[in-house]
Amino acid sequence: MTFIVNILSLGIPFSVALLIASLGEMFNQRSGIFNLGCEGMMAMGAFLGMLVPYTIGQGADVPGIYNYLGLLLASGVGALLGLFFGLVVVTFRAPQGIAGIGMQMFGVGTAGTLFRHFIGGTQSVPGINTAPIPGLSKIPILGTLFFNHNPMVYVAFLFVPIAWYILFKTPWGLRVRAVGTHPRAADSIGIQVNKVRFQALAVGGALAGLAGAYLSLCQVKMFSDEIIAGRGFIAVALVYFGHWHPVKIMAGALLFALAQALQLAIQGLGIDFPYEFLVMLPYALVIVVLAFSRKSQKTGPSALGKPFNREIRT
């Protein structure tokens, strides 16, 4: 029983980075942009998020504030990276898959370069600590499971209904879905397709940056080159898995985080089993899940991956 509770209470915070990043990716893909650069944006976010408390936040009167400034900077730069990606794939209409790889290399490389200059080696930050909710966290089992987490965990799960509301209940959400499904029709009623796509990319980038900063400030509390470890790519896959719907994406993020928590818990049990195979587990799970969810691809945004050009009929 405690073993299961342990896994579950580990899995929830593990799911947060995936959840935030894939909600961002969901907005990108709903608008028709396949953003494979998510990994790079997360790396930049992870570095910048940590940079603020590590440099100017050290020895400050209220160090806590600098953590949140770090989160803010990470999402701001993430949004800028999203706009930069938009310049390449929306304005210039470059093929999105290969451009995404470029974005990933650019982000990961820049984060690594800046990290070596500004921080240097393995340095940890106090980061943002868990904030048990008074009263509720005392409930046996449920308290440890749901009410004894980092403040960002609560925020991330609040993002799910917010994302759902924005996507399905606001005019902007409707525009995003329109330009991702039938950009020509959207264009004909006066929606500026490229503008909406840029906006979606900024939102997606900001969330990717925030997800990265969550890793360096709340989960790992340090930065390393391998900190993202493919979470950006898993986040992209989760959007497919979650049928471009926030609630299903949340379920997917939890599933993957549990696989990861299970892997760590098994390692912790000290069973003599090569840990490499356990580390593989989430990645293999992505492939299996993608292989079996192909039918859902037909329900996805039909203009996904297709640049829009007013001047050419398609």
Binding site: G102, T113, E276, M280, A291
Partner: protein, 369 residues
């Protein structure tokens, strides 16, 4: 539109792309307080100043060329292979297994056998995403990335377990690496005092082979047709899924060969970090080389220079070697954007009419004067 304007326009766009690449890189260099000009000079000229430097660049050119050739086959067939990193690791494992199992075979037999094994290892790893894409519509971009992570874990598993150097166990340092492989596997180092090995000629030979395959055989024609327009190819009776899988296996196989040759030529044992980003750099080389063997060879030399030069910046100007990854990322983004600009006839017309307007104005002024 005059021909002169067209060439001028193309050259102008490409020059602009180069300037933008350098500027974007300069922003990052500026952020870490480095001397921008000096850093670029070190990367681009320092390796070429002596014999060792040039051969080290050529040494890096070998895996880059082979991987980029494989990526070209896949790209031309309409499937993007970003799994070369993992396929290369699988090739290394297969080569190492052969060399460990048959240490007494003569070189003439062992080397081709081991390279072939590396190819099979890589091709098997490339088959998975090819099959998933062709039969189950799984995005190869995601499956190859995931397979990279899985291959990396398999690689450490074998190096820590079944293939671990027995000496490491007794000495107790426990570095995950295989033993020094049999000398019969060694590729000749043909310039004394340097590490450059005969794999360079294999790489050039493979470039010719890929040219012949893609442009001189019906197989290559069908692959390129599948990549150019899947629907048209299908209408023309080409079994597109079959060629996707074949292309991906060739692509993986080439990455595997690159791994074998790195082991046989440079490291002579399986160690960690052999792949060191070659799989991703190969993508940049393939794109930069215009997805053509004749372009890939010089492109591989250029990126070999960049990679080796970036190692030197660490020592000479204090710029981390990660900078090369930044530059590669920027280069990919700029290339794909530039390609679209060049392929846009409307933009060219617009620019031309602007130029024509300016020219007309100027001639008007001259007439008035």
């Amino acid at each position: 539109m005059t021909k002169r304007f067209k060439t001028g326009y193309r050259i102008g766009v490409i020059l602009l792309a180069i300037i933008i690449t350098m500027l974007l890189g300069a922003v990052i260099l500026w952020a870490i307080g480095a001397d921008v000009f000096k850093t670029y000079m070190v990367i681009l000229t320092e390796p070429l100043k002596n014999k060792i430097g040039v051969t080290e660049v050529l040494l890096r050119m070998v895996p880059l060329t082979i991987i980029a050739l494989g990526i070209t086959v896949a790209y031309r067939s309409g499937i993007i292979n970003i799994g070369a990193e993992g396929q290369m690791a699988m090739g290394i494992l297969a080569t190492t297994a052969i060399a460990l199992a048959f240490p007494n075979l003569p070189s003439g037999v062992l080397i081709p056998f081991a390279i072939l094994a590396g190819m099979v290892g890589g091709a098997a790893w490339g088959f998975i995403p090819g099959f998933l894409k062709a039969k189950l519509e799984v995005s190869e971009l995601l499956s190859t990335v995931m397979l990279n992570y899985i291959a990396a874990q398999l690689y450490t598993f074998f190096l820590r377990g079944p293939m671990l150097d027995p000496a490491e166990l007794t000495m107790g340092s426990g570095t995950p690496q295989s033993m020094r492989l049999t000398r019969n596997l060694d590729l000749t180092r043909f310039i004394p005092g340097t590490r450059i090995h005969s794999g360079l000629f294999i790489a050039i030979g493979l470039a010719v082979l890929i040219f012949l395959l893609l442009w001189k055989t019906s197989y290559g024609y069908k692959m390129r047709a599948a990549g150019a327009s899947e629907r048209a190819a299908r209408y023309g009776g080409i079994n597109v899924p079959k060629y996707l899988i074949i292309a991906m296996m060739i692509s993986g196989g080439f990455a595997g060969i690159a791994g074998s040759i790195e082991i046989a030529g440079v490291h002579r044992r399986a160690i960690e970090g052999v792949t060191s980003g070659y799989g991703f750099s190969g993508i940049v080389v393939a794109l930069f080389g215009g997805l053509h063997p004749a372009g890939i060879l010089p492109a591989a030399f250029f990126f070999g220079l960049l990679i080796y030069g970036a190692d030197m910046t660490q020592r000479l100007v204090g710029v981390p070697a990660n900078m090369v990854q930044v530059l590669q990322g920027i280069i990919i983004l700029v290339i794909v954007a530039t390609k679209m600009v060049l392929a846009n006839p409307y933009l060219m017309q617009r620019v031309e009419s602007k130029f024509a307007a300016i020219a007309a104005k100027r001639s008007n002024l001259e007439v008035q004067a």
